[in-house]
Symmetry: C2
């Protein structure tokens, strides 16, 4: 199972991070981190909290927030914002070898789908940003998914209805 390997690596990363800053290796932190590997790619704080509850593992929402912030600071997670959605988190791609993961978002139903585009990545990473040092380039493409586009056609007839 390749997932297992990745999970162990990320766990080790967390251990190192905590140790190096004399922070504590609490069971909550590792339980949360483990659970993240069984969540969808882009999950919210409440997704994680509810998942823990359903597993019968009680953690306060405050601790979920604390841990998520910690994981981001430690470079294990990245944050993404999408119009009309709560903050999403995703396992960091920094360690990954592949192309960056970008997202498209349907402005009607809110559906989010990921895509990759090595060419755009090249453009993003090759160009200079002046005195600014980029660490995390993000591409978000808002638009319409197929089914919302269809629905939109039906509900927006050419002839305006009269009163």
């Amino acid at each position: 199972m390749p997932d297992e390997k990745a999970r162990a690596a990320v766990r080790a990363q967390l251990t190192d991070y905590l140790q190096s800053r004399q922070m504590r290796k609490t069971p909550e932190r590792f339980a949360l981190l483990d659970r993240i590997f069984h969540l969808p790619d882009l999950f919210s704080s409440t997704d994680l909290h509810q998942a823990m509850e359903q597993d019968g593992y009680r953690v306060s929402l405050a601790s979920v927030y604390n841990s998520l912030k910690l994981f981001v600071e430690a470079g294990l997670l990245e944050q993404r914002l999408f119009q009309g959605h709560p903050t999403r988190f995703t396992l960091s791609r920094r360690s990954a070898v592949g192309p960056l993961r970008h997202q498209m978002v349907c402005t009607v139903c809110g559906k989010i789908r990921e895509f990759t585009d090595p060419e755009i990545d090249q453009q993003l990473l090759r160009r200079s940003y002046g005195s600014f040092t980029p660490t995390d380039p993000q591409v978000t493409v808002y638009g319409l998914c197929r089914s919302c586009k269809k629905k939109n056609r039906k509900s927006a007839p050419r002839t305006p209805r009269r009163p």
Copy 2:
């Protein structure tokens, strides 16, 4: 004054939009729209509300929100989200001829600076998104501005301090 021309055009756009949907041309809506032309490129709902108050024009915050939503629906404004910032609005570039406006954000001080990149725009607009129809591609580059990078160097010495 080229600004004046743009403002008139956008005002006309709003008038058309309202007329075509039998919505009302209230003074608040036009006052808000006008004020936006004298705000920074990326402004928040409270920026706009406070600007109105300082001009001695009383509008409720609820109306500011209503109008901003309306302006976005009418295609006059676009919304942008940045980590650690309230929602920002910006005059739509749809009508503009130039390249798309993208943003870089300093993750330490929160400073936002815009940049353009016609090559990336080409990549974004040329590629296919499958059954998904893109309307608004956004690039946000998080990183460090020069001054925060300097400060960071000072406060993160090579040798960890011992307890």
